[in-house]
């Protein structure tokens, strides 16, 4: 019997889509919340204060060196007990992705801010702009452009990494897939192949447009 028929079962696709929605929701919330966190982190990273500097360095390096899965476990099992912080699995995922996304985005913000030529600040000064006007009208818009392509790439990485949520028990697209595989394992023994195949392409369809956008932006803005 062809395993592909599993995909035609009533409810299979809608449920997978629902699962995908959870995936996208976690990624979306995480990316959304990472933006303010990242801006703040990025700003902190540009400060000269040695204590803040060192703290940010350690934070960033720790987040970079720890696998996301390890961070998820730390947040899910560790935090609740250490700090009496009651996070459900979804919450732990979102928290970790915000800490991670915030750190990576912060580094992008820092890089972008530091790459703005000094003469831009000087021109603004000479033209009489106030420091806030300089930052909001001149520096920030340029920094955003510079970091946007890399930030979109970061977003795809966050989407992909949501796949780890299943290992904490979040019922997202992979878990739904496993439930379907389990519920149909007598009728469709080869359903595994098809369900994982569909999930593979679902991720692809979410991430690919983002990759394309990132590449477009990079091309478009590389010349100025």
């Amino acid at each position: 019997m062809s395993g592909a028929e599993i995909l035609l079962q009533p409810g299979v696709f809608p449920r997978l889509l629902q699962g995908l929605w959870v995936t996208v929701w976690i990624a979306g919330v995480s990316v959304g919340a990472s933006i303010p966190v990242g801006l703040l982190m990025g700003w902190l990273m540009t400060l000269k204060n040695p204590v803040i500097r060192a703290a940010m360095r350690i934070y960033l390096d720790f987040i970079r060196i720890m696998p996301q899965l390890a961070l998820l476990f730390l947040a899910y099992y560790g935090f609740a007990r250490w700090f009496d912080w009651n996070l459900d699995a979804t919450g732990a995922c979102v928290l970790v992705f915000i800490l991670w996304g915030g750190a990576e985005l912060g580094d992008l913000v820092r890089g972008a801010l530091q790459s703005i030529p000094k003469v831009q600040y000087e021109s603004s000064y000479v033209l009489g702009l106030s420091p806030w006007q300089t930052f909001s009208r001149v520096i920030l818009p340029q920094a955003v452009r510079r970091m946007l392509p890399a930030s979109v790439n970061l977003a795809t990485r966050i989407v992909k990494t949501t796949s780890l949520a299943v290992l904490l028990g979040v019922v997202e697209v992979i878990k739904v897939g496993q439930q379907i595989i389990d519920a149909n394992r007598f009728q469709f023994p080869t359903g595994t192949l098809w369900i994982y195949g569909v999930i593979f392409f679902m991720y692809f369809i979410v991430c690919w447009p983002l990759s394309i956008v990132a590449r477009r932006l990079e091309k478009r803005w590389s010349n100025d």
């Binding site: 395993g3 720890m66 996301q68 390890a70 476990f73 795809t156 992979i174 192949l193 999930i199 991430c207």
Partner: protein, 219 residues
């Protein structure tokens, strides 16, 4: 709840084994990724007609899907087509499949960053095309590609933590196992963090050294 050092002592050997498994999978996976990356970068730079389109498609597929799903597909999906690979093979192939595209992009970036005037100068000086590639282009390409390649190596080491999902006994597997059996969450997570620091800190430091070593502008 207090921290149980004796538990850590008792189960540290498990984590040593887990670390070895992580190293085994990652090292071979990364070597495969580098090989795949070289081939793909070569195909793209040389603009080989059909192969180039295939490489593009491969890169898009690999970059835009999670390793966990790739592994599930290889491990649980392929047997339904009659292809049964061992968990180790799946993990290494999975890492190679994912990492290959990242490596390819880093290497292509390195090759493309060599200014055209370098090729022209080599031509005018009478160097043959082989001499131009080995003496002029590659050394410079390597220099620019290294930071990206090193970042990818660390990235792939980290990604390897998901192989525990296909029953490979890496460090992550050990941690989850001990939590599940003995509910020793603190101690297991502590050993997990230590294990990753032990693996990745030296690599990160070595990577920085390597970047410096090959940075002609800074050494």
């Amino acid at each position: 709840m207090t921290f149980d050092w004796s538990f850590v002592q008792r189960y540290a050997p498990f984590f040593v084994n887990g670390t070895l498994m992580t190293l085994f999978i990652s090292v071979f996976g990364i070597l495969l990724a580098i090989a795949v990356g070289l081939v793909c970068a070569g195909v793209e730079i040389a603009r080989i007609p059909v192969a180039r389109q295939i490489v593009r498609i491969y890169i898009e597929l690999s970059r835009n899907t999670p390793l966990l799903v790739q592994l599930y597909f290889l491990y649980f999906g392929l047997p339904k087509l009659g292809v049964v690979w061992s968990a180790e093979t799946c993990a290494i192939v999975g890492l190679g499949f994912l990492g290959g595209s990242y490596m390819a992009e880093a290497m292509r970036g390195g090759l493309e960053a060599v200014p055209n005037v370098q090729r022209e100068t080599a031509y005018v000086l009478g160097l043959t095309s082989t001499q131009t590639i080995t003496r002029v282009i590659l050394p410079q390409a390597v220099s620019t590609a290294i930071p990206g390649v090193v970042a990818n190596v660390i990235f792939l080491f980290k990604e390897s933590s998901v192989v525990s999902a296909i029953a490979l006994a890496d460090v992550m597997y050990m941690a989850k196992d001990l939590i599940g059996m003995y509910y020793s969450t603190y101690e297991s997570l502590f050993m997990l963090v230590v294990a990753y620091l032990v693996i990745l800190l030296p690599i990160s430091i070595f990577g920085t050294w390597l970047e410096r070593r090959f940075d002609y502008e800074r050494r």
